[in-house]
């Protein structure tokens, strides 16, 4: 295994985030803080507790997930799309590095960035609402799995996209709506029965439910099902990446 190459890609991608510090880290934190101000302080004071959890605290896991999912996909997709766009991908393709090593470098860096953002948002949330994490290891586990899974999805989008419009298409038109409709700001139980059934087809529901359970021990679906769904989603992404690498999809003619 070409460890030097993996480290090089990883460091390069992390350095890119560091050099665009405001965009990479400050922007998601500011956005999430605004959500806390609007939903937690302004609206939250008028909403009853949900399943015994104050509304301001209840939305914390959903807001972290919102940032994680969008940041993971954006970071990973842009990371591999950029060298494709500039033509610098030739160097990666001609280097003594396997596709798996390329994947570890790019997805590892994107997942790390998202993980850091998730932790920063968690700390920021502590300034706005009282927080208690019932199962910290489960919380970290969900956090890491989600970062990796959605970074894999972002990597797939970055390989698939051949222009900037496509790069933004899935995150804006699919991921963000799914997160908003996935119980970030409410419990699925609050929806009419028909919508509850429809909601169960949204994979993000399982992520947010499991993540919220690790904080407050309240969940829309069982934690085992949440974990199974995220692992299934990760395996699906890995299978797609494997196929893309095997066929050289949009990388090697």
């Amino acid at each position: 295994m070409n460890i030097h190459a993996i480290k090089t890609i990883y460091k390069y991608e992390m350095l890119r985030a560091w050099e665009t510090l405001l965009q990479s880290f400050a922007s998601p934190v500011i956005t999430t803080s605004l959500y806390f101000v609007v939903f937690g302080s302004a609206i939250g004071t008028r909403i009853q507790q949900i399943e015994g959890v104050p509304y301001g605290s209840f939305i914390v896991p959903g807001l972290i997930m919102l940032a994680l999912l969008t940041q993971s996909t954006a970071n990973a997709s842009f990371g591999i799309f950029l060298p494709k766009f500039t033509g610098a991908i030739y160097e990666i393709m001609s280097a003594p590095i396997s596709f798996i090593e390329i994947l570890i470098g790019y997805v590892g860096a994107a997942a790390t960035k998202s993980f850091i953002i998730g932790l920063i948002i968690l700390l920021t949330a502590g300034f706005f609402v009282p927080l208690k994490i019932a199962h910290p290891f489960w919380m970290l586990g969900f956090l890491i799995l989600t970062c990796i899974t959605f970074s894999l999805l972002g990597f797939i989008i970055g390989l698939w996209a051949n222009n900037f419009e496509k790069l933004q298409l899935i995150p804006l038109l699919i991921i963000t709506p799914l997160v908003f409709l996935g119980g970030s700001f409410y419990s699925v139980d609050m929806l009419p029965p028909a919508w509850q059934t429809i909601t169960l087809f949204n994979p993000v529901v399982y992520l947010i439910s499991g993540f919220r359970w690790s904080f407050f021990e309240v969940a829309d679906v069982s934690v085992g099902l949440s974990l199974s769904m995220i692992v299934l989603f990760m395996l699906t992404c890995l299978a797609i990446v494997w196929w893309m690498f095997k066929t050289g999809y949009r990388l090697r003619q």
Partner: protein, 320 residues
Amino acid sequence: MGKSARPGNSLGVQTIISISNVSKTYASGHQALKDLSLDIRRGEILALLGPNGAGKTTLISIICGIVNATTGTVTVDGHDIVADFRTTRSMIGLVPQELTLGAFEKVINTLRFSRGLFGKKQDDVYLEQLLKNLSLWDKRNNPIMSLSGGMKRRVLIGKALAHEPTVLFLDEPTAGVDVELRKDMWALIRRLRESGVTIILTTHYIEEAEGIADRVGVINRGELLLLDAKHSIMHTLGKKQLHIELEQAIASLPSTLSDWGLELSSDGSQLTFTYDPHNAGSGIAGLLEAVSDAGLVLKDVNTSQSTLEEIFVNLVKETL
């Protein structure tokens, strides 16, 4: 070129890259390479000449691992480029035709990235020397976007050399650069060869091949039309012409000169005789005597030799 032949292979010469019956057909159906075989010698400068779309870039992209060959095999120093890609790619550096560089990155960082990507430990002493050799040391902390086109091309060469390769591919290294920079680039290529690096460059500038290459290969429509030492090509395919200027213009060739295959200029003042300089019986003396016997008075006589460009143009024309 015969399909089973091994162009470039001869006794006593070490082969570093062996290309055997390589074909490439893209998904669009375009056949870029047709059963091409070629041996590249260790330590040489090989120029691959060909018009745009001849298949030169496809060939080097296959060797470097960027494009998959449809059929055929390539070995680098005896290692297969597919089965043993880590070994072969570690030995190769590639300078692409396009200036594919990040805009905001610092020069030194992009070289460090290249070195790491090829599995080499960071070695800032080596990179410092490399940048000095490329006259880029004082620009090491500059963002790439602040560099001139010529400097960017040198950065690309630096990136290709960052992992200390033994084979360097230069795809159209002087495309779009001014004459002075082109000469600098040639000097740099010669220095690299002296340090033991095998250099393969693609070009459609004949002057470039003529100026620096040890051997020249001509590719057109995916086929290798010719591969030989530059001087051998000139020797084998080069023609000489004898131009005879007449004191008085004539309307037509005298019948006694009709067997000599002479060309009469449109104004009737010059006769041109094309001959093989390596053929002992070219008959120049006999021709001059026949011209005199025909009653023509000579004003001046001079000779010219075909250039590599003329040879190249004729070769490419023949395949159209």
